[in-house]
Amino acid sequence: MMRLEQTPTQELIDRFTRIGEEQYQAIWVIDNARYNRLYREMQEIKDELKRRPGDERRALAKLYDHPNMQVRLMAAHATLAISYTAARQVIQSIADSGFLPYSADAGMTLLNLDNGIYKPA
């Protein structure tokens, strides 16, 4: 597999998307070991995008409309520091959906943003 630094941005976004879809399934069946592994993989992609000139995490905003709720949620997390209002709206819409357990994750994020526990960077 190509090293992350050499991987084109679009391919990183595609990987981000696939990982988010797998996270959705891991959360659904409450498989934390699998989820936490996927979380670390996604974190590496986010870090690589952030390192690129101009902070290419902003490219993840195109996933705000992705059909998979977990992909939308993680794309919003990844872009909160860049595009707070739009990203927060995505999180709010997931919280409002009431579709558990994803809506609970999103709802907690809103609370943690408001009380300062969560400081997106």
Binding site: R40, P67, M69, R72, S97, S103, A104, Y118
Partner: protein, 269 residues
């Protein structure tokens, strides 16, 4: 649902009508976001394809249209499964998957007639079943038919209540605490401040099991909340909530514990 499920109905009756009975409109049900080809249609939150046939217009149905119970058993596609003998390895076959992004179909989930060997497969079915029931309504005709069919699957004996209690409406804290005195199938006792972490933090057993820290919650909500505590979380700098709370005060643990109950639909806002 089998594609030819309509064969179980009397001639002239409609499967759509059967599914339309007592269909509940849920304004909070996820929709495919605008901008996609299915924009605005009902979805389960995972897939881009609108899947909720059941959310279409209602029809009237006469219970005389219903088939015999043995046919209903077939209607819900209770199917033998072949099991991998390797633990912790995804079964071969066609898991609800990444291809169409998995999650619960809005059709009745297929019932395995044997207990799935892998925990993830069991939990996946139970979640699918509970979520589907929440969407069609436990008291609807199709919901009752599903539960009747499930009643004849031996391994589900232990999980019938677990499926049904998942959609309990939220209660007040007083109600949840009072329920602790009335253990029932389908519910578990939950510690608002997680007990393992509280022990590590040096709380005594009597403090951990104090009535103020105990609530009775639907079993699968208990699983979900416990799962949330253990997942890496962006909010907490990549730590799990459990890790984040490890050096926090009892009041902070309690506060987060109440939020978790509320956001998972157990505690009334």
């Amino acid at each position: 649902m089998k594609a030819d499920a309509a064969r179980y109905l009397r001639p002239g009756s409609s499967l759509d009508a059967l599914f339309g009975v007592e269909q509940k409109y849920n304004p909070n049900q996820p929709r495919v976001p605008a901008g996609s080809s299915d924009g605005g249609q009902w979805t389960n939150g995972a897939s881009g394809s609108a899947q909720n046939d059941a959310a279409q217009s209602s029809g009237n149905i006469d219970l005389g249209n219903l088939p015999s119970f043995s046919d209903l058993f077939a209607l819900f596609q209770i199917a033998p499964q072949e099991f991998d003998t390797t633990d912790d390895v995804q079964l071969a076959g066609d898991p609800p998957g990444i291809g169409h992004n998995g999650g619960p179909s809005l059709d009745p989930p297929e019932m395995p007639d044997e207990r799935p060997r892998l925990r993830g497969d069991r939990v996946g079915f139970l979640k699918d079943a509970a979520t589907w029931l929440g969407q069609v309504g436990k008291a609807s005709v199709i919901g009752q038919l599903f539960l009747g069919a499930a009643n004849n699957v031996e391994w589900l004996d232990d999980y019938q209540h677990t499926i049904q209690t998942y959609n309990d409406p939220p209660k007040t804290l007083d109600e949840l605490q009072a329920d602790v005195a009335n253990p029932e199938k389908g519910y578990q006792i939950h510690h608002i401040m997680e007990q393992t972490a509280a022990e590590r933090w040096g709380l005594s057993r009597s403090e951990i099991d104090d009535p103020s820290n105990l609530v009775r919650v639907p079993t699968m909500k208990h699983w979900e909340i416990t799962g949330w505590y253990g997942r890496s979380n962006e909010d907490f700098g990549g730590q799990s909530p459990r890790e984040y709370l490890s050096d926090k005060s009892a009041s902070e643990r309690y506060r987060i514990g109440l939020y978790a109950l509320r956001l998972h639909g157990v505690l009334k806002p």
